[in-house]
């Protein structure tokens, strides 16, 4: 930029340099530091806890329980409302399929050729494992008794 071009030119040059300075100035802290910290935290906590705690919504325990206690090829039922933690369920629980319980007919034990996960939840309920969304965007582990 031509510095002899008057005040206007200097303002434009300053804005362009300011943009470059803002961008490059963030490299050490936000671009590198924050990214490395984020990756470390993700590796420590695991996907469910990292994502839900970051979003300040409850439900990580329920997802971790499902990951530990259901077959990978199973179907997990879910029940409305779906906003919040349930939105992460499909990706975090894969290769399990997360299926709207209203689409599963009463008495069914399989869906799309897969077994619907069943058992006893930590609270002692017995039946088809169902992930229930809550009004607070969290999750509740419950069951469906066909």
């Amino acid at each position: 930029m031509n510095l002899r071009a008057g005040k206007g030119g200097i303002v434009l040059l300053a804005l362009l340099l300011a943009h470059l300075a803002i961008g490059v100035g963030r490299y050490p802290t936000r671009v590198i530091g924050r990214r490395l910290a984020e990756i470390e935290l993700y590796e420590q906590k695991g996907g469910a806890r990292f994502l839900l705690e970051d979003a300040k919504i409850p439900g990580a325990e329920q997802l971790e329980w499902l990951l530990a206690n259901t077959d990978k090829d199973s179907v997990i039922l879910w029940r409305w409302p779906s906003d919040g933690a349930l939105e992460f369920a499909a990706a975090l629980l894969a290769p399990r399929l997360v299926v709207d319980e209203r689409k599963v007919p009463p008495g069914a034990s399989t869906f799309a050729g897969r077994t619907i996960a069943s058992g006893t939840t930590p609270s002692g309920e017995r039946g088809l494992i169902t992930l229930q969304g809550t009004e607070g965007k969290g999750l509740l582990l419950t069951t469906r008794t066909n």
Binding site: G23, R30, E43
Partner: protein, 480 residues
């Protein structure tokens, strides 16, 4: 450089076109990705390119340092973990997982109604690219994300080269796009977040570059990519065609219309399958409108009495108002189902009442576009350049990119006028920064072009040995 960039853009579009066909059937064959890229690069070797003008070595080295530093961090961020932010983790990762296992929609995750599938009608370009790379190079699929960023930088640099922007300015503007904080800072919308924002930004930038250089191939590729990247790309593609129409860019309008039509017919069957319904009228609307615009341009050309610039400018000025009327009228037709557009169209009845959300929207634009520096000074430079030019009496050109960027930024208000969220503040906070990010590329191309014009005026002024520069109110250029 231009051949590589054109080849890569072409390859992505070729890959997407074939993939949309195969993904509905037995699956995308693994060989298709390398073959599509082979075709794209081969075709690009036959494209005529502009002469390259060298830039100062120190500036190039500095820019490469900055860009490579960002690329290394984005590479690390993309490959170290799955997506670490909301939409990437909730929507993108699940699609990639299932497509990587089996690149077809003929599997329960996509084909069975009732399976939880976040944002089912989102275009599958990015998930398909990542999944297919993952199949070829396990654990490396997500390198697509930083490479989209590099391609974006390549598009900017090549477009400015073709425009013959002063070498130092070209390097500075390329670096400016590369360091835009929203792209690099971890969070929703960042390059490695798994969100579709960067690839949509690549698409809008390619389209703007097509307008800037009257480059038909890039314009068409940009339009296709916009539709293939994200749902809002449909609206952006229409805006690009409206600009081509308003500026009487006949060849751009024609090829853009063809690109839109082909893309719509390639994508709609996939979209319909994802939504578990038959292909519908929905995607043909843009096609009808584009065809109408083409026809109208022909009429305007045939009937010179109608062909007054004022007509077209008035039409453009009336676009937001006409748009709201059209939304109220057409909205209910698209309000059914679980598609992204349907969620907004269910609010169409209250479109005019939604204007009450505009003050909050403008405050959001100021906060996320300017004061928080997430976009750096991106939004300020065109205004400053305009003010300087007006002050000095210099007429700036490149209205096409200006109108495209203006319409695009205006369009970012629509989701908030039709906001389905009860919490408007949250909606603005979570969506507006990403919507503004889509226009960073076009705005920088515009800024580059204008700054270059001001520089040229300054040089002319100096050559004429006038004491004050053209930026001074006393410049001779003003009187000229």
């Amino acid at each position: 450089m231009e051949r590589i960039v054109t080849g890569l853009l072409l390859s992505i579009v070729l890959f997407w076109t074939g993939a949309c066909f195969w993904v509905r059937g037995d699956g995308i064959p693994d060989w298709w990705l390398p073959v599509a890229f082979g075709f794209g690069i081969t075709i690009a070797t036959r494209v005529r390119i502009a002469d390259e003008s060298p830039s100062p070595r120190w500036a190039r080295a500095a820019a490469w340092l900055v860009i490579c530093g960002a690329f290394v961090m984005l590479w690390h961020g993309a490959l170290s973990t799955p997506s670490r932010h909301w939409d990437g983790a909730a929507s993108f990762d699940a699609k990639v997982f299932w497509l990587e296992n089996s690149p077809t929609l003929q599997q329960p995750f996509f084909a069975t109604e009732g399976v939880f599938h976040h944002s089912p009608d989102y275009p599958l370009l990015l998930p398909m690219l990542v999944a297919m790379v993952e199949r070829l190079a396990p654990e490396f699929g997500r390198v697509v994300l930083p490479f989209v960023y590099m391609l974006l930088i390549g598009v900017v640099s090549t477009a400015l080269q073709r425009r013959r922007i002063a070498p130092l300015l070209r390097v500075a503007i390329t670096a400016a796009v590369a360091v835009t904080p929203s792209l690099l800072t971890p969070g929703g919308g960042a390059v490695d977040s798994g969100y579709g924002e960067c690839i949509l930004l690549l698409a809008t930038t390619t389209t703007a570059a097509g307008l800037l250089n009257r480059h038909s191939l890039w314009f068409a590729l940009g339009i296709t990519l916009m539709l293939a990247a994200k749902p809002e790309g449909q609206a952006y593609a229409l805006l690009a065609l409206a600009v081509a129409y308003a500026r009487s860019e006949r060849s751009l309008l024609m090829i853009g219309t063809v690109a839109l039509t082909v893309t719509a017919f390639v994508w709609e069957p996939v979209r319909a399958a994802l939504l578990h319904r038959e292909p519908s009228f929905y995607m043909t609307l843009p096609v009808v409108i584009a065809a109408f615009a083409t026809l109208h341009l022909g009429v305007v050309k045939l009937a010179p009495r109608l062909d007054t610039g004022r007509n077209r400018w008035l039409l453009l000025a009336a676009v937001p108002f006409l748009g709201l009327l059209a939304v109220q009228w057409l909205g209910p037709m698209f309000a059914e189902g679980n598609g992204t557009m349907a969620v907004y169209m269910r609010q169409a009845d209250g479109a005019f009442a939604g204007l009450a959300n505009l003050p909050a929207y403008f405050a959001g634009v100021f906060e996320f576009g300017i004061s928080r520096l997430r976009l750096g000074t991106t939004l300020l430079i065109p205004f400053a350049a305009l003010a300087v030019a007006k002050h000095c009496g210099i007429k700036l050109h490149d209205r096409s990119v200006l109108i495209f960027a203006l319409l695009g930024v205006t369009a970012t208000a629509v989701p908030f006028v039709l906001s389905p969220e009860p919490d408007l503040e949250h909606h603005i906070r979570s969506s507006l920064p990403r919507l503004l990010l889509h226009w960073v590329g076009p705005i920088w191309l515009l800024s580059a072009s204008w700054l270059h014009e001001l520089l040229v005026a300054a040089d002319r002024c100096e050559a004429a040995r006038t004491v004050p520069g053209p930026f001074s109110p006393h410049s001779r250029l003003r009187r000229e």
